[in-house]
Symmetry: C2
Subunit: 82 residues, 2 copies
């Protein structure tokens, strides 16, 4: 298992309700890929959303995000924190 | 006060020690701009580091990061979370 920060770059105008709905759509199926979405942060002005998760690998994160209708644009495996 | 996610895109090979040192350099002077750096996540392979903070504005975050020697490449004001 690793920790991942994935980034969506094209969600301008995302509302609190839309982000919560998207997050819940992930959480509803995340167990099928052994993914644990921990937090999502969004900036409606730039259209960026950052999702922090624990997962077996980046592809597992993407499979859940794709099935929920919002694939990430990039992902980074977090191996150092402060 | 707002919440911000800033992104550094050119820190390949960043070690846990280097990230902690960078974070401590921010924290040592953050009070002068009323910034509170809460967490940093790094991916040494892609060279990306994400910093979550509370601050009066994006410029205040940048002034601290610049004085500490690591200006951000982009920043997003977080107004929605899940």
């Amino acid at each position: 298992m690793g920790q991942f920060m994935d980034v969506h770059t094209n969600m301008p105008g995302v509302t609190a309700e839309a982000l919560l709905e998207a997050h819940r759509a992930d959480v509803a199926i995340q167990g099928e890929e052994n993914v644990d979405f921990q937090k999502a942060w969004g900036d409606p002005k730039t259209g960026h959303v950052f999702c922090l998760s624990e997962a077996p690998d980046a592809d597992a994160v993407q499979r859940i995000h794709e099935r929920a209708g919002h694939p990430y644009d990039e992902i980074h495996e977090i191996t150092v924190t402060a």
